[in-house]
Each structure stands twice: as structure tokens, then as C-alpha cells.
Amino acid sequence: MAARTPVSSSVERPPLLTPRLEERLLLALRYALLISLLAVFIGPFLWMVSISFRGAENVYDLNLIPKNPTLSNYVEVFRAFPLGHAFLNSILVTTITVSLNLLLCSLAAYPLARFEFFGKRIIFLLILSTLMIPFQLYMIPLFVLTLKLSLADTLAGIILPWSVGAFGIYLLKQHYQTIPDSLEEAARIDGAGEVAIWWRIMMPLTKPALAALAVFIFVQNWSDFLWPLIIINSEERYTLPIAVAKMSGAFIDKTQYMAAGSVLAALPVIVFFFLAQRRFIGGLTLGAVKG
């Protein structure tokens, strides 16, 4: 703002602010903006958390600190809705999906990165092509297929179609390609079999990529909504996002229950996030390639 006036002006006027003062003012302004933006990004959540601790009489008060705070909503929501089931289901589905992805993507990525074989290029292109095609195009035939395979309304039906993914394969392939050949050669001279070379030597070397992939799949799966919504019917097989959606219909006049349920559903990932921020942001930014 107090940038030097161009050379054309004949008299050098003394600047209104010294550069030091200007810097300080800008810094103060920056912090003011940073703090007010907290309200924008965290405010909606804080209000919901606050509502989850209120009695029925003052649910919608604008005050963030509730009068007569109570924990009863957290108890009641479990009594009124099978939220416990939903928690177990989500933990089960997410854990199995992440594990399967780590294993199957590693298995597929390894030969694509390090072997020469007939059909390699075509297979890799086929795998990548799934990234370009929106799942919403074929979710209906996929649903019919799960009906035929008796996978509809089961947790296995939620998991299996997403047990491996092109993005994970692509990511791990990149990592396998960076491992020097000498390591593999040395193991082979020591008489290790091909599978042992992969499992004991090569895969452990991709650990950072596996960790990032795990975070990515975890967050994506924990929040996944459309596919479980399509194939799950029974209350006892709801995952958390489905449970939250169904509750919002069931508890229209019990906003405080619904708020408590939502807080519980969202909390695990947010806690994990604050414990391992770098991992998280790294893992999710990877998704940029996926879109």
C-alpha cells in the first residue's frame, strides 16, 4: 500500500507508514482475518456440538455455551436408534476395505511396475480407465448384480466392489518403480523365491505410500454414502453415514438427539486428523490425481 511512488513524481514524499509499522499492521490484519475465519469453518460444528448438550427447552439458542448442559442426548440417541450397530458396521467395513485395498493394490502394482509380460500395457490402461468413468453411470446394474449374487443388504456387498482401486494401484506402482534393481538381485542370489522377494523385501519398502493410501481409503470409506444407501435395507446393517441420514428423518422434532448422533459419527475421523495431521493431509492430497 505504501509502495514507493514511481520515479516520475519529483519530490520524494515521506511514506505514511514506516516499512516496519506497515509490516506489523499487516500481520495484525492477517491474524484478525485468520481468527474470524475460524468462526466460518468451525462455527457450524460448534453450534451443533453445543445443541447436542442441551435440553429440549432451549435447543436453538444462539449461545454457544448451553444453559443446564446435559449428556442425556448421547444416551437417548443410542436408545432410540441402533447407532451402536452402525458404529460396529462402519468400523468393520472400513477396516476390511482398507486392508483389502492395501493387499490387492500391492499385489497388482508389483508386477505392473517390475515385470515384463504379455498384455501388461493393456491391463494397466484398462485399470486406469476406471478412473474416467463415473460410478453413478453403472450403479444401477451393479445394484442388480448384487441382488443376483445375494450380496444386497450385506456388509460384504458394501465392501467387495471397492476392495481394490485404480488409484491405489497407480500410486503403489510409482513407488515400486523407484526401488533399485540391486535389492531384488541380491535377494534372488540369496535364493529367495519371487513371492518372498515381494512380501519380505519389496512391499515393506513402500510403507510410506501404503500409509498414505490407508488414510485416503479410510476417510473415503468412513464417509461413503451413496453405495451403502443403495444396497443396505436393514437397520442393523446401516453404516454411520446411512444411520445419520435416516436419523435426520426419524428425529425431526428431536434435533438435540440428531446433533449428538452426528457429533459421534464425525468425531473418530476428526480426532485421528488432529493426531496425525501431516499423514492425513498428505494422504488426502494424493487423491488429487484421482478426482
Partner: protein
């Protein structure tokens, strides 16, 4: 002789390693993908004995279906999120770029919406937007700016914009991080040299920063455009497609799958809408890849 033997063994092993992936992708992705095109040419309801081939009838029905056009219009309108998200997240990245005390705390807080499930985000915002007791209307009434609550989510004039603002809000942190990485690559000496030469902040931004982050801007445009046409959860949670907020994916869901609405599971017709979505995504991808190519070659 020996080497060809080991080559064959490795080929076999490669296919063994790839087998589970090929099975999953083939069965659960490629097979239904091809079916989707076929089903879009049929009247199809599972279990019904009368699933017959009808040629392009589903597509001609689309052309005359006002609900489809409304959904398509909304999906295209949703693309307006793209420039807004890019502008705001770039500004946010510039705000949190300097390494000043507590900055990683602020960055993390702005990122919280990204890691929170959309269903919860949409619910939290539907509390804020509620006409009768939402935080916004309560606040506006308190300050005497309005007398009656504004129907943010129920008026057809406003509902789509309200939902779009939630989509934008949830994505900002994500794109902020991408721009943060890009900003690190802006040559510091160049910025300093320009400042010493008397360039204004705006000029430095225009001529140094912007060209440096341009590749990320186009990448962000692609990602956010494709996810904008696939939007579903916030529509489902906040409006259920009422108040003129149905989008393509929502329309596919209620015509083809939603049992609660009892709409008769018209899977063939819904698949035809799916094909339209596919074409839209394809056009967006090709368009964006083209524009990126042009950028890199120029």
C-alpha cells in the same frame, strides 16, 4: 532355454498377482458398466417378466421430460462452484502461507470440513439455514434486518444456491492445501526483486504468483468440475431434491433405485440418464485435458 522358462514363470506369477484385481474390476465395474449402456435401451425393472428392448425410447423420453431438464440444468449450474472454489481457496492459501506462530493450527481448523463426512456437514448446515430457528435467520432478526425468516432451503429461488455454498465450504480446505504446495514453488527471489523495483502487491500477484500456480488452478478446475456434476449427498440431506434442487445423480437415484418414493424402479430410464452423466463427465475431462495441454505448450 532357461531364461525363456523363467520368463514364462514370471508371466504366470504376474497374472496370479493381478487376478484378484482383474476379477473385482471385471465383475463389479466393467461388467455393469457395459450393462448400463444396454439397460438404457430397455424397459428394465428387476424381477419383472417384461424387460424388453425399446431402442432409443428412453432417450427420446428424456428429451421430453421436464424433470430431467431441470436436473441437467441444476447440474450445469453447479459448475459455478468451480470458479468460486478456486478463487476463495487460492485467497485462503495466500492467507495461511507465511510461517507465523500458530499458523498450522489455523490451517488444520480450516481443513476440518474436508475430513468430516458430508452427511454430517450437510446436517450441521441445515440447522444453520433452517427457516424458523436457523442461526442465520435468528441473527438477522435479532439485528432487525429482516422480520420473517428467509426460506434458504425451501424456496426454489434460493435452495440450490444454499446447497452449493455448502459444497464450496466443505471443499475450500482441500484446495487450499493444493495451492499451498503450489505457492511454495513460487520463486521467492522473483517476488522480492519485483517488490524492490516498486511493484505493487497486486502486480506481483498478477505477474509472478498467478503464472506460477496456473497449472494447479487448471488441475483444481478439473477435479472440482467433475465432482460438481456428481453431487448427491448434500442434495439428499438438505432438500431431498425439493425446491427445484434435483441434480442428475439425484434424479438417477430417485427414478432408478429409491424404494421409499415408490417411483417404480425404472432402471432402464435411469440408466439413460446415467449415460448422459457419463457423456458430461467425459466432455469435461477432455475439455480440461485439452486446456491443460494448451497451457503447457504455450
Amino acid at each position: 532355454m532357461k531364461s525363456s522358462e523363467s520368463k514364462r514363470r514370471r508371466t504366470l506369477l504376474a497374472y496370479a498377482f493381478l487376478l484378484p484385481t482383474l476379477l473385482v474390476l471385471g465383475l463389479f465395474h466393467f461388467f455393469p458398466m457395459l450393462q448400463a449402456f444396454g439397460v438404457s435401451l430397455m424397459t428394465y425393472t428387476p424381477g419383472s417378466p417384461r424387460n424388453e428392448f425399446v431402442g432409443l425410447a428412453n432417450y427420446t423420453r428424456l428429451v421430453h421430460d421436464p424433470a430431467f431438464w431441470a436436473a441437467l440444468k441444476n447440474s450445469v449450474l453447479y459448475l459455478l462452484c468451480v470458479p468460486v472454489v478456486i478463487g476463495l481457496s487460492l485467497a485462503l492459501a495466500i492467507l495461511v502461507e507465511p510461517q507465523i506462530p500458530f499458523i498450522s493450527f489455523f490451517r488444520a481448523c480450516y481443513y476440518v470440513p474436508v475430513v468430516t463426512m458430508m452427511v454430517v456437514v450437510a446436517y450441521a448446515w441445515s440447522l444453520i439455514f433452517n427457516t424458523d430457528y436457523g442461526a442465520i435467520n435468528q441473527g438477522l432478526i435479532k439485528f432487525g434486518l429482516i422480520e420473517q425468516g428467509i426460506p434458504w432451503m425451501t424456496s426454489p429461488k434460493m435452495a440450490l444456491w444454499s446447497v452449493m455454498s455448502v459444497t464450496v465450504w466443505k471443499g475450500l480446505g482441500y484446495y487450499m492445501v493444493m495451492f499451498l504446495v503450489a505457492l511454495k514453488a513460487v520463486p521467492k527471489e522473483l517476488v522480492e526483486a519485483a517488490r524492490i523495483d516498486g511493484a505493487r502487491r497486486w502486480q506481483v500477484f498478477r505477474n509472478v504468483t498467478l503464472p506460477a500456480v496456473w497449472p494447479i488452478i487448471t488441475l483444481t478446475a478439473v477435479i472440482s468440475a467433475i465432482s460438481a456434476v456428481k453431487v448427491f449427498e448434500e442434495i439428499y440431506m438438505m432438500t431431498r431434491g425439493k425446491a427445484d434442487t434435483s441434480t442428475l445423480v439425484f434424479e438417477i437415484y430417485i427414478t432408478g433405485i429409491d424404494m421409499e418414493q415408490g417411483s417404480g424402479l425404472e432402471m432402464g430410464y435411469a440408466s439413460a440418464m446415467g449415460v448422459v452423466l457419463f457423456v458430461l463427465v467425459l466432455v469435461l475431462s477432455i475439455f480440461s485435458i485439452r486446456s491443460m495441454d494448451r497451457m503447457y505448450t504455450s
